[in-house]
Amino acid sequence: MNFLIPKSKLSSFLITLLLVIGFSSVTGTAAIRIGSLVDVTGGTSDVGRDYAFGIGEAIHYINDKGGINGKKVKLYQFDYGYRIPEALAKYKLLKRLKVVAVLGWESNDTNALSSIISQDKIPYLSAFHAAHLTNPGKNPFNLFAATDYSTNARAAITAWFDKNWSKHPDFGKRKPRFVASYEFGHLYCSAPIRAIKDQARILGFEIGPDQHVDLSAIDNKMQVLAMKDFKTDLVWHGNTTLSVSATLRDAYALELGANHIVNSWGFDENLPRLAGKAAEGVIGVTTNAFFGDDVPMMDTVVEFAKKYSSGVPIEKRLIWSIRAWANVLALWEAMKRADKAGDLTGPGILKKGFETFNGHDIGLRVPPLNYTATDHRIAGKVTIYEIKDAKFQVLEVVDLKNRWPDKWAKEWLGW
């Protein structure tokens, strides 16, 4: 047993080394916590599910890339079923978990929590892109990596005016006629109406009576007949894909003869599938690329979708996961900057993170991001698409900021 007895300094050193190797463990730094509120059971679950998966996949990506300057991110994701009381309850849970930021969802949770997150000074990135959230004077901690609904609506009607009306036989002879079709009283649907009508007046439209269409409606013939009475040239669709597709089908069947522009949550890969021939020529807005488009970062998105949601056929993935990635990538950059500045707090993420962005490019055809202390509109350029042969093609990139600089700077912020 003499070999067990260390006889020299070298032996002692080797024992010490072996002990260190045997008993050492990597003492990892605590993870940085981010919260996520999603709807995978309620009225927005069809799109919420894809969005929720996108968040999870994007968080895996940022952890693979070193997290926040070497520190891992831990995601706490909860379904709130589109119920406001549950959104409030889950937010309280996230606070107890000491999250530094929240990835929220749509109008219900974002609106219900807006004053609370301002008080708590927690950055809240939502998929609800209402213009009133872009005014830091009123909602400093609400942000999103997307152009807002009002900017999008102005850009969409402008693109139709530029590209379609100019070729119309009545161009120059009369005013084009415009009607808005949406669910009255719903926050998302009604958010851009004031702005789009303002833009319609600027461009010289005649505006007809709004048509109420329920978000769940699949028979909208009465509304289409009313549009026909007005002889509308252009219809704005402010709803989500199901009822938009139904209105398009009824418009096609009743030979309305108008063009159609659609807001961002009604313009996804399912629209041409549901509306069929009625979708041909429909114009719409998105704030990022469609799933699988050939754009920077899309290969990564697809790779992570296949790896972390392998049970979902890749052909069923939708644009909503890209929307989620956009918010996560923007938050990631903001947190890295704040952390480098030694201030990974809510106000730090806002001031030393987001509000230092100056054309930060995250790929995925999201406009380069800009946030200032007085303006959280990320960009004045919006890409407008048209459906041709059931595929989405770019129709025009409308630069509202350069085209109407005074109005952009002095009038349009926040509505």
Binding site: G22, T41, S45, D46, L215, S216, T240, K306, G311
Partner: protein, 197 residues
């Protein structure tokens, strides 16, 4: 003598630790040797049940605020997770969509870590909770065309599901399931699906 005994003991422990480390290296996970775990659905239970009822916002409740309220329903999905590997694996997350007949009503997302020892099977109980109101909105907002094809109203669908579930009188599907496993630096997403009827 005492000093020699102490050194002898420390040396023995150090060698034992070193050898244990070497033994671990012989069954280390690699991309090549990592076999996908197998996830099967053992059964589904009605975890909690309140029967079927719905109150619209026009009804004044005995207590609390008026609103649109539908009966909750909680289901338990009992899964078996088999680890065919010679090393332990950790399930980092699991998610799946719950379908009643052809309608998706919930997506369960589990984010707690679950270890499965080498060559063993772990059982896991995943709870899905949803209610009549959220299901109504989900059916109306997404299932409109399919309900029309079946000549069902949303209410008929809800009654069929809530009243029929204790007997499992319609198929309950686990759709688009993914479980993410890791072992050392290897991470693998494993798809799964099942039907219980």
């Amino acid at each position: 003598m005492k000093k020699k005994s102490i050194f002898r003991g420390i040396w023995a422990v150090a060698i034992a630790i070193f050898l244990a480390g070497c033994a671990g290296m012989m069954s280390r996970p690699t991309e090549k040797n990592f076999k996908d775990p197998v996830i099967t659905l053992k059964h589904v239970e009605v975890h909690k049940y309140w029967g079927w009822w719905y109150f619209s916002a026009k009804v004044t409740p005995s207590k609390g605020k008026a609103g649109n309220y539908g009966a909750p329903l909680a289901l338990a999905f009992i899964f078996k997770i088999n680890n065919p590997n010679k090393f332990a694996i950790m399930m980092e997350e699991m998610k799946f969509t719950v379908g009643f007949d052809e309608f998706d009503l919930d997506t369960v997302i589990l984010q707690e870590s679950v270890w499965v020892p080498a060559k063993k099977t772990t059982e896991l109980r995943a709870i899905s909770v949803f209610d009549g109101r959220s299901a109504l909105l989900s059916l109306m907002m997404t299932g409109g065309y399919r309900l029309k094809e079946k000549e069902w109203s949303s209410w008929h669908a809800l009654e069929t599901f809530w009243i029929g579930i204790p007997d499992f009188s319609f198929p309950v599907h686990v759709r688009q399931g993914t479980a993410v496993f890791s072992a050392d630096k290897i991470v693998r997403g494993v798809p799964f699906s099942a039907t219980f009827e």
